[in-house]
């Protein structure tokens, strides 16, 4: 479904040049959930943004659902109906002056689809929001409800692939549980392919089958969630991540290596 070969992303130039993503390759099958974890600033979000066309200055070969992509070129309408993204910050990803209805009807209007009313009803129902939410503005919604609206917006074009950039890290644990359950259910019902970025190993391994560990722009290891659960990753950095996710331990932290 998604095939990435030698993806490189570079920002800036001169002294401010950042090689944010270095030679990343991976292959994700349809219906699979693929996780990206790793250091903060290691380029996880940038990979997603390059995939969906928000970051333009990349090179490499990227094929999504049979369509080879070109950096910088405008994506086809079919592309937007295949790939959609959910952003990290539910407080920043909904237009503050638009009602939920407007937010959801816009993609329908852009793509010229029929029956906007019933599509919106369906999307709201899928994410478990009742009719009463349809004409609310974002400031009338809680963080979890906003994230549901963001998911509904991503689903309304019936994409096959959902890119999720830390969809729950701005939410508290009880709401996170609700959103994770929702995502699991939707994946089942709509047979979606997920690419999930998170820094929470527990969240990633809860949802994903395979996980790529990134550090400093590179993928250092790909593990299956089962291997991770058994606590047997091969790479030292991954082992360190796993140890760190067990909680605070002053002595262990001094043992942490700084992979430069």
């Amino acid at each position: 479904m998604i095939d990435i070969q030698n993806l490189n992303v570079v920002f800036g130039s001169g002294a401010d040049r950042v090689h944010a993503v270095k030679n990343v390759s991976c292959r994700i099958a349809g219906g699979e959930s693929f996780g990206l974890v790793g250091e903060s600033g290691s380029g996880k979000s940038t990979v997603l943004r390059a995939l969906c066309g928000l970051a333009t200055g990349w090179d490499g070969e990227v094929t999504i659902d049979g369509e080879a992509l070109e950096a910088g070129a405008r994506r086809s309408d079919a592309f937007y109906k295949t790939v959609q993204m959910v952003f990290q910050d539910p407080y920043g990803s909904l237009h503050p002056r638009h009602t939920v209805n407007r937010i959801l009807s816009e993609p329908i209007a852009i793509q010229g689809l029929d029956n906007p009313g019933s599509r919106i009803d369906e999307a709201l129902q899928q994410v478990g929001l009742g009719e009463g939410f349809r004409f609310r503005f974002p400031h009338q919604l809680s963080g979890g409800q906003r994230q549901r609206v963001a998911i509904a917006r991503a689903l309304i074009l019936k994409p096959k692939i959902l890119l999720l950039d830390e969809p729950t890290s701005a939410l508290d644990v009880s709401v996170q549980a609700e959103v994770l359950n929702l995502l699991m259910r939707l994946r089942e019902e709509l047979s979606l392919t997920f690419v999930l970025v998170s820094h929470d190993l527990a969240v990633v391994s809860h949802i994903c089958d395979r996980i790529a560990v990134m550090r400093n722009g590179e993928v250092v290891e790909e593990v299956t969630a089962d291997d991770l659960a058994r606590g047997q990753p091969a790479d030292r950095y991954t082992r360190q991540l796993l140890l760190a996710s067990k909680g605070y331990d002053r002595a262990a932290i001094d043992q942490f290596e700084d992979f430069g």
Binding site: R75, Y80, F87, S93, L94, H95, E106, P107, E131, G132
Partner: protein, 307 residues
Amino acid sequence: MSDLASSSGSGLKAWLTSENPGSHLQASCSRAYYAWLDFAANRLALLGLIIVGLLIAVAAFAPLLATASPIAPDLTQRLLPPSADYWFGTDELGRDIYSRIVYGTRLTLYVVVLVAVIAAPVGLLVGTSAGYFGGWVDKILMRITDIFLAFPRLILALAFVAALGPGIENAIFAIAITSWPPYARIARAETLTIRRADYIAAIRLQGASSWRVIWGHVVPLCTSSIIVRVTLDMAGIILTAAGLGFLGLGAQPPLPEWGAMISSGRKFLLDQWWLASIPGIAIFIVSLGFNLLGDGLRDVLDPKSGD
């Protein structure tokens, strides 16, 4: 719409404050209602609204309110002080100043509305496009803006009027041309932060064209600060128009433009103070009204406090 809200019965109030609005109309009305409540809590802003409202009402009903013709001279009644017959006195041609002030509201409103209608959209469009596209589009548009900003407004307006010839339409055009650059600046600055927001990324991901993003998503967020700024600028616009009138480059006699009235009245300032002072007071009150209104709008519309 807002006035309707304030005199609401309980049924209407419940409709407006509903947690679960049933239609887009209801949601928008409810938002406007809350904005109105915020606005109405500010006494001075309310005073500003009343002044501006009065200005509009007087302009609309000028023929009913005026007691005499604003332009027909009556040389037997020259330079009379304020009295029961001539509330604000008469001028050097024997025209009733009260009636001239009343009809003058039309000219003031005409200037203000036309300038707003021309300058605000131009500034908005230039600013948002520059901010959104960045790169060379931004460079070119902002250089043009800078050129316009480099000249003091009255001087530039003077130059335009001198080139186009005196007259109220040309004065309006000149003022409009000189007042859009600050709006472009504001709109650009706001667009720079807005364009990086996730909701803009999200709509682009749904295939929206740049035009749609700018028009449907960026512009609505910039309009509130532009509206505030335009309202606050109104005082300046009225003064510039009056200034042009005063210099004889704006409205031409016998139009009852307030600035021109001051100009012709200044010769009589020492003995017949009302000729220049009454239109001066009128300009002052209307400018103050727009300023108070703008301040109040800023508190309500400021996007940072919006949610």
